[in-house]
């Protein structure tokens, strides 16, 4: 009973906390019941990020991980939900019925994905953990959090733990540890289930965001298709695919902020960026890249106030998701492999220049040989080139190209400065880290491709928006 009720309560708690955050951001103002249902995936993702980020700050402050404490965190984050519900109950209007072939195609695709998701649930719950990084980097930390309820500091300074990357952020291990605690027992087969839930939430959330910029016949196959194609990577239980999901959602939210300048989009983007930064070190760089590119795009559109707000959002991400963790690492004398201080030293970089060419070549190779998911990158670049000719879309096109290019460059840079043999990186990680670039391509295709397939509500208003040059 506990093994079912515990996880149900925890994951319902993530939903509640996420709804609370979205209510705070103003996403649920005057929402109907159908709208509440539509934002469920985004609520879950934001809820996980919110609850886990606060939990990590508490762990850093020395507060042990307990389910009671997690309940308090959830209640705090969900509190605005109560206020919204007391103020105005969601209107009980019947949800819009799909009409026309296009809507039915979208419903069928989402339904087919839902079937794969539901069939997969019992299977992933029995899957042994066998990937090296899965148990060595992520599950190991979740295990220690599960049993001890505190961050392992002195332990990870010891030689037996020299290769566990003690500097990697804790979003994934904490999320997994909470799931294990909700089960009430440690089960090495339980690690895939929370990741599987993230897959479902990604499709739900990306569908919602993309439905604002493109038609169902576009977002349904692209979002469900990319999700299906990411499943083999997700089931390695590494952090790369969950990070790719968060990067895509964050880029799409930031793209919406650039285009429509609604503060709610910026708040959602900031939450998702906090998730990226707390998921992996590449995610931190990805979050920084998205903030810088968004500010640059807004500056290009001469939106000073929005540039400032983007900077504030970036600072908030730093305060919540980066600084506490970095302070804790420094206080405990834990550090990673990469000598970031050295990494901008021209002499150091020049001495390792022989690593740059093969790194770029290997990453580029992933983008041209990985089939349908990788094809999103050239398609996104082509869409950006087309959108560049429209004065209205130019900042958006510049944003997506800058994000993709800088993120790609940051991956090559990490290989360039890494002390580990390059061949080791190329054999063990290039295939999985490139997925992040592909999912950024997905966000760009959804958003920029929307100019050709505007959603029905927007099509009338923007029909005259054409090439200006």
């Amino acid at each position: 009973m506990r093994q079912l009720a515990g996880p149900l309560a925890l994951h319902a708690g993530f939903f509640s906390a996420g709804y609370g955050l979205l209510a705070t951001f103003g996403v649920l103002r005057d929402a109907t019941l159908a709208r509440w249902a539509a934002v469920g995936g985004l609520a879950y993702v934001c809820g996980v990020i919110g609850v886990v980020s606060v939990t990590i700050v508490l762990l850093v402050a020395g507060v042990p991980l307990t389910m009671e404490g997690t309940g308090v965190v959830i209640a705090m984050l969900a509190a605005p939900l109560v206020v919204v519900l007391l103020r105005a109950r969601p209107a009980l209007r019947p949800p819009p019925r799909p009409s026309g072939a296009e809507a039915w195609i979208a419903v069928s695709l989402v339904g087919a994905f839902a079937l794969v998701f539901l069939f997969g649930l019992p299977s992933v719950g029995l899957r042994p953990l066998d990937g090296f990084d899965a148990w060595n980097l992520w599950a190991r930390k979740a295990n220690l959090l599960f049993w001890d309820g505190e961050l392992p500091s002195a332990l990870f300074r010891g030689e037996p733990y020299a290769r566990v990357h003690s500097d990697y952020p804790y979003l994934l291990p904490t999320y997994e540890a909470l799931h294990l605690r909700s089960l009430g027992r440690f089960d090495p087969r339980a690690f895939h289930l929370p990741l599987w839930l993230l897959l479902g939430a990604f499709v739900w959330a990306a569908g919602l965001l993309a439905s604002r910029v493109t038609r169902p016949a576009v977002w349904a196959p692209l979002v469900t298709g990319a999700a299906i194609l990411s499943i083999p990577g997700l089931l390695t239980a590494y952090a790369d695919v969950p990070l790719a999901y968060l990067l895509a959602l964050a880029a799409l939210s930031a793209g919406l902020w650039i285009e429509r300048r609604m503060p709610a989009d910026l708040a959602v983007a900031a939450t998702l960026l906090a998730g990226c930064a707390a998921m992996k070190n590449e995610g931190l760089v990805g979050a920084a890249v998205i903030v810088v590119a968004a500010a640059g795009a807004l500056a290009m559109a001469r939106r000073r106030r929005e540039v400032l707000l983007t900077g504030v959002a970036g600072a908030a991400v730093l305060v919540v998701a980066v600084i506490p963790w970095r302070v804790w690492l420094a206080a405990n004398d834990l550090h990673g492999d990469l000598a970031v201080g050295q990494s901008v030293d021209p002499a150091f970089l020049a001495s390792r220049l022989d690593r740059l060419g093969p790194s770029l070549e290997a990453l580029h190779g992933q983008l041209i040989t990985r089939g349908p998911l990788a094809s999103l990158v050239p398609l996104a670049l082509a869409l950006a080139a087309l959108a560049w000719r429209s004065r209205r879309l130019r900042p958006l096109a510049g944003f997506y190209v800058a994000v993709g290019a800088l993120y790609f460059a940051s991956l090559a840079w990490a290989y360039w400065i890494s002390p580990l043999p390059l061949q080791f990186h190329l054999e063990t990680s290039v295939a999985r880290i490139a997925v992040g670039v592909m999912f950024l391509g997905l966000a760009a295709v959804l958003h920029l491709g929307g100019t050709g397939f505007l959603p029905p509500a927007a099509a009338d208003g923007q029909a005259g928006d054409e090439v200006t040059s």
Binding site: L379, G452, A463
Partner: protein, 166 residues
């Protein structure tokens, strides 16, 4: 270079689409054509992927449901040919809160053993541990003084367990 050629190829498709449709809404037609290519590529790729994934999930489910605890706990160690029988033996004898020192003539396998026996904490020095695990090494060949531990429990030669003398 190939990526650039792919982008140019996609732009050519967009140009052809505009020439065929002949609309004055240039951007919409061109980006519509590119998006249609994306939908077809990802959509058809995923159709195949969905079938393969669902089938393998269902097959794996029945196979994984039959695994014994030591089989699913030891799965990750198979790449090292780890001795799951010995690790199960240690797991059943050493308390979870104990500290362990591993004496082992191995490298990558150390990571697996410290994970497999988690949450027991592994120490750098034998004298800091409660228990000693001798793995693929004879106790007399290990870098551990003989007087450092109490009675040895032998699983088989080279795979032994001992409590540190206090």
């Amino acid at each position: 270079m190939t990526l650039l050629l792919q982008v140019i190829g996609v732009l050519l498709v967009a140009a052809v689409a505009r020439a065929v449709v002949g609309s004055d809404r240039r951007l919409r037609v061109e980006s519509g054509a590119v998006t249609a290519v994306a939908v077809v590529l990802v959509g058809f790729g995923a159709l195949d992927g969905a079938w393969v994934t669902t089938r393998s999930l269902l097959t794996e489910r029945s196979a994984n449901a039959r695994l014994s605890p030591s089989e699913y706990q030891g799965r990750g160690g198979t790449i090292f040919s780890a001795r799951e029988d010995f690790l199960t033996f240690v797991d059943s004898r050493v308390p979870r809160a104990a500290t362990v020192h591993l004496a082992c003539a191995c490298s990558d396998e150390r990571d697996w053993i410290s994970w497999r026996l988690s949450p027991r904490r592994f120490t750098e020095r034998p004298q800091d541990a409660d228990w000693l695990v001798f793995y693929r090494v004879q106790p007399q060949d290990a870098d551990v003084p003989a007087g450092a531990y109490e009675r040895l429990v032998r699983f088989e030669p080279g795979f032994e367990l001992a409590r540190v003398r206090r």
